[in-house]
Symmetry: D2
Subunit: 345 residues, 4 copies
Amino acid sequence: MIKAGIVGGTGYTGVELLRLLATHPDVTVSCITSRSEAGLPVADLYPNLRGHYDLAFSEPDVETLKSCDLVFFATPHGVAMRMVPELVSAGVRIVDLSADFRLKDLSVWADWYGMPHESGEWAEKAVYGLPEVARDAIRDAQLVANPGCYPTAIQLGFLPLLESGLVDPSRLIADAKSGASGAGRQGKIGMLHGEIGESFKAYGASGHRHLPEIRQGLSAIAQADVEVTFVPHLVPMIRGIEATLYAELKNPADFERLQTLFEERFRDEPFVDVMPQGSHPETRSVRGANHCRMALHRQEDSNIVIVSSVIDNLVKGAAGQAVQNMNIMFKLDETQGLSAPAFLP
Amino acid sequence: MIKAGIVGGTGYTGVELLRLLATHPDVTVSCITSRSEAGLPVADLYPNLRGHYDLAFSEPDVETLKSCDLVFFATPHGVAMRMVPELVSAGVRIVDLSADFRLKDLSVWADWYGMPHESGEWAEKAVYGLPEVARDAIRDAQLVANPGCYPTAIQLGFLPLLESGLVDPSRLIADAKSGASGAGRQGKIGMLHGEIGESFKAYGASGHRHLPEIRQGLSAIAQADVEVTFVPHLVPMIRGIEATLYAELKNPADFERLQTLFEERFRDEPFVDVMPQGSHPETRSVRGANHCRMALHRQEDSNIVIVSSVIDNLVKGAAGQAVQNMNIMFKLDETQGLSAPAFLP
Amino acid sequence: MIKAGIVGGTGYTGVELLRLLATHPDVTVSCITSRSEAGLPVADLYPNLRGHYDLAFSEPDVETLKSCDLVFFATPHGVAMRMVPELVSAGVRIVDLSADFRLKDLSVWADWYGMPHESGEWAEKAVYGLPEVARDAIRDAQLVANPGCYPTAIQLGFLPLLESGLVDPSRLIADAKSGASGAGRQGKIGMLHGEIGESFKAYGASGHRHLPEIRQGLSAIAQADVEVTFVPHLVPMIRGIEATLYAELKNPADFERLQTLFEERFRDEPFVDVMPQGSHPETRSVRGANHCRMALHRQEDSNIVIVSSVIDNLVKGAAGQAVQNMNIMFKLDETQGLSAPAFLP
Amino acid sequence: MIKAGIVGGTGYTGVELLRLLATHPDVTVSCITSRSEAGLPVADLYPNLRGHYDLAFSEPDVETLKSCDLVFFATPHGVAMRMVPELVSAGVRIVDLSADFRLKDLSVWADWYGMPHESGEWAEKAVYGLPEVARDAIRDAQLVANPGCYPTAIQLGFLPLLESGLVDPSRLIADAKSGASGAGRQGKIGMLHGEIGESFKAYGASGHRHLPEIRQGLSAIAQADVEVTFVPHLVPMIRGIEATLYAELKNPADFERLQTLFEERFRDEPFVDVMPQGSHPETRSVRGANHCRMALHRQEDSNIVIVSSVIDNLVKGAAGQAVQNMNIMFKLDETQGLSAPAFLP
């Protein structure tokens, strides 16, 4: 039985980890910390957990965390980078759901997150935890940087196109849309139901923190610098990301090969589902599940290939992928605790 | 391994049965019928089931159904009453999620459903499947009439009040609210997102089909005729029912005893959660789960006791309760396949 | 041209006043105050107003407000009671949309609002601004206390029943449901889209601030003490209130007279629409409009009369009623600026 | 007073025309036809219109329509092309909100709409009614083809870029998102609240009927063949379109000139609002209003210019633009009946 701790458990990522781990047969959550809610039973904050956990939030305490086999960080950026070095030195393995260890270029990190990075050593050693790209490295990692939600949907969708070299890596567009839970559980006026419940907008269109992560990931996949334009949008729903991806085929005739290429690339992936060409994946088809579903399109004889890719931002885009990474790290069946179908309607 | 069949599987109740049974370790779904969709793989209609079921919808065929241990009916009213007699004669056990066998007075049934009842014998033998009231009878039943969604939330909330005789049974009010999935998956203009997505209304305020079912159930519990006013409302959400119940205490001082009364009544019930007095149960706290959560209130020294009771209409109000009934009928752990936490946010 | 000021204009009531007054031919908004947003153009906060107002928020300044003919208070409770005396002394007329002057019993006010009332004189002189009850007094009022949203929907629905004496005033139940804008525009976690976007719950079931206002209003109408139970609920939509009202007929046969009674009572009311008996008013049918629509029901031969009453909480429940009161106070056509149809779909 | 008729008034476009015309001082609606609802008062179908119209739907009758000064067609495709020739011969002026007269190439029309076009003469004579492009022609037109919703948002956003020749016309991408009212008011399962209320997806990604209209319009603006990829998406809200447009600057340095270019291009347009560079227009900022709001972005030093453009699909994307066209055709103030602010929150 893996003894797991969660640092920063009051947000949506925290409660989603608790939901998924409640039915995981090989894990027990031994502590969950929150500075602001210390002492409060988790089931008082999240009544869906009544009857599932007796646990209360506790003050973050490094000694307690050291007794865990694995610690998940579900904190704002800047927290994990300060606590991780001591924990890993004590032999604790880490899955960090925050952005602290996702970028390799620390000056880029500092620019986007507005503070210097304090753990260069571990930023270098951290494994970027996209299992479809880095499963072997994840298996042996001490520290896994769990990918962001948008970067997960976007990298998986572009993956076969860039690996195969069939598209122009300097002309990538990712138009992505997310439900409101992606903004977290904080009392911001801009995220009130009264503000966004019946409206749609782009945001971060001049630059969003996930842009450098996407660029780094796609460049690694393409083994070349890519140029990617990424515009996120806010959808009046709670969960789900859809990314519509546009790439230019070097040879338009190659479009005919793409469906097979995608299916073969993901054949052995338990959580990537390539739907028949021309399908339109719905976010609800992955709601609550760890799957990424995608489908290919093109319009008439255009040289533009279109990929629509959907995930649940809180599952494959956060807590589910973290559990998947844990399963890999601890040599469990990769789908353990993640096998329930998505939640529809 | 229980071999289960589903008749009428294209609606929301059908897909919810499939979702729940996908992770149930003791059941295999051997057939699912649909006249309109025969031949179509279920995963083509419901993409959340891709990878979980290879099954396709088939024409309803009595011989095939006879090979099942259990058949769920998820059909419009009027279907089960015609097919059940032959199946039970063949030894198949039945959980009917439709309204066909819920009412004991067949003239009342005929009035509300607009057709004569065709199976008086089985209407009499059917066990009304509210486990919190009739667990023993369900265990041995050949045919279980699975309760309606509103009647489940309302009967559970009034249960301790009527059993204890502390309230006036002639002055009960049930003001209930449901998400849109309660209306089923049919192409009605009135249920379009464009019509109801940002609106709220009462419906059936002069009389709804669940009224006689509620009255019959509450009268049985009270062992006396009750008078109950029931007004349903349509909420712009997909799942969930909240019922606010009003009853008049014969002796206002008895209010102080109610919290304990409720807690004791439901102490051994795996799916009824009495929250602390003064709580406000949210429908999302039971979304996707088989729980009914409830809480008690009164205003100043009023003699009116208020109960707020929530369920997921598709789970405890339909497919989940059907699985619970199946578990009881087949002497399984009652929570088998129903132990995942609700889905929040 | 009436010169109007608005104190506390950043909330939903403030922007709704601006929306309605933008097309009102007889009013000009000369100042709108906000401590927190002073200096910011209103159209920067509310882009729907781009092109309609050049005005910026200003610091609240009594001297500037004294130059207005009318001042609307759209402030939290406790603000108007401190500023009103000086303004009325200067001859300014006031429509207070806050709760400060709604209750006549100041000890009750102090209990519910958690502070002593500081303007007993004006609390007594204030006219409770429900035009359907107090039109003549409003016409000459210096200070109008604009009714709360729930109290408006509930009082109008009970009005003919209580005036006529046909129902038992000691057994009234008001089960009311509101969209999220009723909670105002503040960064509360509990009002995030992620929290309430796909959920329904009761709140304040043990006592809500609108209860004493409702009780005071209904008692005045009934000319007797009433006992009323009031439970509000939160609907995952932005605007709209539906109140389902239950009352016990002294003589059940009187139900047949009620439709005519209601129609006659409201025949000359420009903003109350009695729909045909058995109708189900939708909140969207009044969205953006100053109307209250209602309809009558009963179930079989019950002695319970059911009234479903809908308003837009920001219009007839706040800003629209304030404009209606202003129209009455300044002897304008009562529908001036309020004649656009509701917004559907 | 202009005497207007509406053919096909039961859909969302029809009720929106009625809502807007209810407050238009220069128009009276003398007839509204519907085959399916003939005889039904419009206010029975649309309760928001109670008190505003006494009119009932009537059978479509050419003689009655001939007595109108103007007829709006709010019909499915294929209807207007059969009725228009006789009406225009009788001197009636037409604004056709359907797709019948939008495309000049009738073989393209036949391909996308699955039937031969029956009125080649009037397809040629029809003026494509985008006032920002064709105001003078509209003024004198007998027949105006009112643009589609997506084409309106997309053409306005690309307009200054293509007119100025600053971008590559062979690499245009329009990623557009629409609320559910765009699919009309028909009982389709796929548009139920239960299906789409909490989900997001692309649709028509391999080709949508608005693609040839967009291509025709952009090519006319660019005075060259354009290549445009257009992917529509369905947003779980009722009204609103947001289009995120991507174009490649021939010279990246030109980006600095674009804000001024856009502001100047639309300076005299009453319904196009260029927001400050870097803004994110929200669909709610135009809900119920005839405005198109847009803003410019680019990411770091990219050569991709991003335009986010929002409209209300039922107003500027349908009924509002039809009223605007009518105002132009009858030499009224272009904003007559269209001056109310958008509806927020």
